[in-house]
Symmetry: C2
Subunit: 258 residues, 2 copies
């Protein structure tokens, strides 16, 4: 979606290290924004993106207009049931239809390739993997670790929306996820509701935050494991000022890593 | 969908004449059948299909099981709005979602290629073309003329359901389409409702037939042109005994071909 930051750059560098040719897609996809969301305000800077992509090792920046992508209005939608309906899907109806549709089209344009996605949008990664498997799309999907500021805040184009006070508070979302991770890994909690409450408690009392969800999920299908017996993903979303931030971390009970 | 007849064979021959390698897909796709439809009864004969495909010039027959196609149950659906909602889409809810989803998957498996579809399923061809354009799937879709019995009945695996009396009456569906074509091309009718009525009148009084629809459609988006000013497609569907037959013909007003 453009507005390239160090998180995107890490994907491009990894792709450049592993592939012969690297193309970066740079398109703020209207299909994945709800009517009340920030499509118009979403940061855009194709000139800066082009320099950043080239410096990181890309040979191609693909920044089409909507008219170039769809000379006639698109009638086709790709939907993923289950994994796309939970968490972000519940908070943002239609969001993952928009993601799956544009990603399927970009994969059609790219042809056989590897595609690098950040784990920051963990659910997106799960939805894309599910779509690629179901539709036998000849693309190897590669997940890449989230890049964070030194204070723990995950890099995101939407961090640009934060006021200085909000920016100072924002790392508490990551801290809440780490509180959930500690509950599983150190306190040996196996009850997902207990772990969610630990994450909620960590954010509670901060007047800047409105928590959307703080959940424990199976990393493959995003369903809530009960009890927690293997590796899980902790995912949270919260509103802070104009921004809606999401983040996630992996966690594993001591039994799973013994 | 297998049960290869001379219509399918004509597609394979055309593909063999135009391409280096021809693969025939042979899979009765459960996704495109409604719960009350003929999925279980649909004719299947992979051994005969294999001989017919090879004889017509194919190198590969791809006849997977559902478990081979989807080791995990599919969560992904490809939907085409507009063209998939009219005509067959209105009579068979969900049918074209099933068609678009399996065709997208087969195109994912095949990779860059030409794909040959019969005009017999004209709406399917329009839906597939729309999907391919919208999702930038690297497949060149080739439409091929309907193959007919000498009495005019379009070849179809579902003709196997007809009793001798029904088989004798079945060509009247094609005759009804030709009545519509005459109305446009000879009587110079430009009112689509008049043309539909001409087709309905042609079938009326036959106790074996229950007409689903007899429509005039723009060949690109299947919307009803009013008035008829350029080339159109006449499409009809009718139930006869256990079978539901569909057929279509092209027609053009004299003004369009002058």
């Amino acid at each position: 979606m453009g507005a390239l930051h160090a998180g995107h750059v890490s994907l491009i560098r990894k792709a450049a290290a592993e592939c012969d040719l690297v193309a970066v897609t740079d398109y703020v996809n209207p299909l994945q924004f709800g009517p009340a969301e920030d499509f118009a305000a979403y940061p855009r800077d194709v000139t800066a993106d082009c320099s950043a992509a080239e410096e990181a090792g890309a040979q191609v920046l693909f920044a089409p207009t909507t008219e170039e992508l769809w000379p006639e209005p698109s009638a086709t939608t790709v939907s993923v049931a289950g994994v796309a309906e939970l968490l972000e899907g519940a908070s943002r109806p239609g969001h993952f239809d928009g993601v799956a549709t544009i990603v399927a089209k970009l994969f059609g344009l790219a042809g056989r390739c590897r595609a690098y996605f950040g784990e920051k949008d963990f659910q997106q990664l799960v939805v894309v993997r599910r779509m690629v498997a179901d539709l036998s799309i000849p693309v190897d999907v590669v997940g890449c670790p989230t890049v964070r500021h030194p204070d723990g805040l995950a890099l995101s184009s939407r961090n640009a929306y934060l006021s200085p006070a909000e920016r100072a508070a924002a790392p508490r979302l990551y801290a809440a996820l780490l509180a959930g991770k500690r509950a599983i890994e150190e306190e040996r909690a196996t009850d997902p509701v207990f772990v969610s409450k630990a994450m909620e408690a960590s954010l509670a009392g901060d007047p800047l935050f409105t928590l959307d969800y703080a959940e424990v999920a199976d990393p493959r299908d995003l369903r809530r494991p009960d009890p927690i017996a293997g590796e899980v993903r902790l995912l949270a979303a919260a509103r802070i000022g104009r921004a809606r931030l999401i983040d996630n971390v992996a966690a594993a009970p001591p039994s799973a890593t013994d």
